[in-house]
């Protein structure tokens, strides 16, 4: 083979360098943009840990709220949040998945379906306080569920329904059409295709969407204030879902709005507890997801 006429790096030096510099600058800009989020989170976390970590003790987790900062704890709020979350998941998950299955696999593609679809997308953007008002009117008053955990969970369920429905639809849509055809081609009924092929394959995506939606719900304050979460509670739910309740964000807000420095530290500790709760949920999501993936 004859040697190349132009050796490497000989031609168009200036232009090559400009292109290279532009490439590097773009990479730097993208990295910087990523860092904005990471740094902000790190600073926030560092600040909260510095303020609240020394308050984060077993007593803090195990005590009720109190007028005396050294005796105050998050027990009622933490249990309230867990109750609300659990019940919300139990209500919202099946309803959302069923709605998503209907919309993707059963609904005829007509005006009504499109209208429903549009509505769901819009509902995801409605301010959460509006759901609070709905919850107050429908669950607390009209259905006489009072200011209970059930009212709160129902309200939050409605709040996150559109998010889970859309995530589930996305996951269901991502199941290759060829697999549906294969199953139909073997004489499977629509229900068999959905339950044996589509749902198992879509489940990791559905679970991820659900956990993300629940993560949003765990931070919600406004709608729960509307349906009557109380700021101060010195007992844990024992009578089940009809009990009064408070939740973590509300407790944190309550502490932060007090003038004393000690309560601000308690708020920081509360934030840490909430963060740990969130991380636990996300870890659960990842575990569930990998387990489902391994099975299919």
């Amino acid at each position: 083979m004859s040697p190349p006429r132009v050796p490497l790096g000989a031609g168009g030096r200036g232009r090559d360098r400009r292109r290279r510099v532009a490439g590097v600058m773009f990479a730097v800009a993208c990295t910087a943009a990523t860092m904005v989020g990471v740094v902000a989170l790190a600073v926030l976390l560092g600040d909260v840990i510095a303020d609240g970590s020394h308050r984060l003790t077993g007593d803090f987790i195990g005590s009720f709220a109190s007028r005396f900062p050294e005796r105050a704890g998050v027990k009622a709020a933490l249990l309230g949040s867990i109750w609300i979350l659990g019940l919300t998941a139990v209500i919202a998950f099946p309803v959302s998945v069923a709605a998503a299955i209907y919309l993707e696999e059963y609904a005829p593609s007509n005006r009504l379906t499109k209208l429903i679809q549009l509505n769901i997308a819009n509902l995801a953007g409605v301010p959460s306080i509006v759901y609070g008002i709905l919850g107050l009117t429908v669950f607390v008053r009209a259905l006489s569920l009072q200011r209970s955990i059930l009212s709160g969970a129902l309200t939050l369920s409605i709040l996150i329904l559109p998010v889970i429905i859309m995530a589930s639809q996305e996951a269901i849509r991502a199941v290759p059409h060829s697999l549906r055809e294969a199953a139909y081609g073997l004489g499977a009924t629509r229900w068999q295709v959905v339950s044996l092929q589509v749902l198992p394959m879509a489940m990791p995506g559905i679970l991820t969407g659900t956990i993300l939606a629940l993560s949003r719900a765990v931070g919600e304050t406004a709608p729960l204030i509307m349906v009557g979460a109380v700021g101060f509670l010195a007992f844990t739910p024992t009578g089940g879902v009809m009990d009064q309740f408070t939740v973590m964000p509300l407790q944190i807000y309550n502490w932060i709005s007090r003038p004393q420095e000690e309560f601000h530290e308690l708020a920081a500790a509360g934030i840490l507890v909430l963060l740990i709760l969130l991380l636990t949920m996300n870890a659960t999501a990842i575990i569930l997801r990998t387990r489902f993936r391994r099975h299919h």
Binding site: S109, P176, L179, A182, G185, A188, L196
Partner: protein
Amino acid sequence: MASTYDIDIGGESAALEARDVSVYYGEKQAVKNVDLVIPPNRVVALIGPSGCGKSTLLRCFNRMNDLVPGARVEGEVSFHGQNLYAPVVDPVEVRRRIGMVFQKPNPFPKSIYDNTAFGPRVNGFKGDLGELVEKSLRQAALWEEVHDRLGDSAYALSGGQQQRLCIARTLAVKPEIVLMDEPASALDPIATQKIEELILELKRDYTIVIVTHNMQQAARISDYTAFLYMGELVEYGPTEAIFTTPREERTEAYVTGRFG
């Protein structure tokens, strides 16, 4: 004109018969007034250039077009004399008795065993499932290669093996007719040859309708060939006649490679 697509199937009754079949996707007509008789225990090839409607026509035979939104089938398709599109007919039963193998291997994300067993399971098979799985895999000439790793994921198989698994999966439901939509088009020559040998083997027990864009393949494996062009059935007859003495000019142009 009618004589160009008549074949003599002797005294046998047709396994499948299309009478004046048209298929529309919305406004667009993909298949135009096709008449086609599929004799039992033969291999019938549908050939023609891309978009000529051969796959669409094939999908009429097991009501697969029902699953395509906006698709509409007119005319009559009968299976041993019974109209597949009659209101009393359940498309699920149609698909069980008239199986289908698709263009791209599409095994389920499950084990080899569960892939083969899926059809029998959804159809409520009562009997020795393991035996049926083995028989089906043997029929598809795959057993020797996979018998010691039935629990492995089907995705671990090569493309050609996956396609034979898909054939085994179809056979496990014990269909009477097997429709194949370009079953070897995504495979290499060696895997293709295996599939072709398999088709010739299966002919003894099944009626096979195969869509292919590979004319040599049609010539090698089919008894009858139908040439479609722009949604119309141009010519239908014994494969040898279609390839050596076609009656229609368009057929001759296509099989000699002048277009398509």
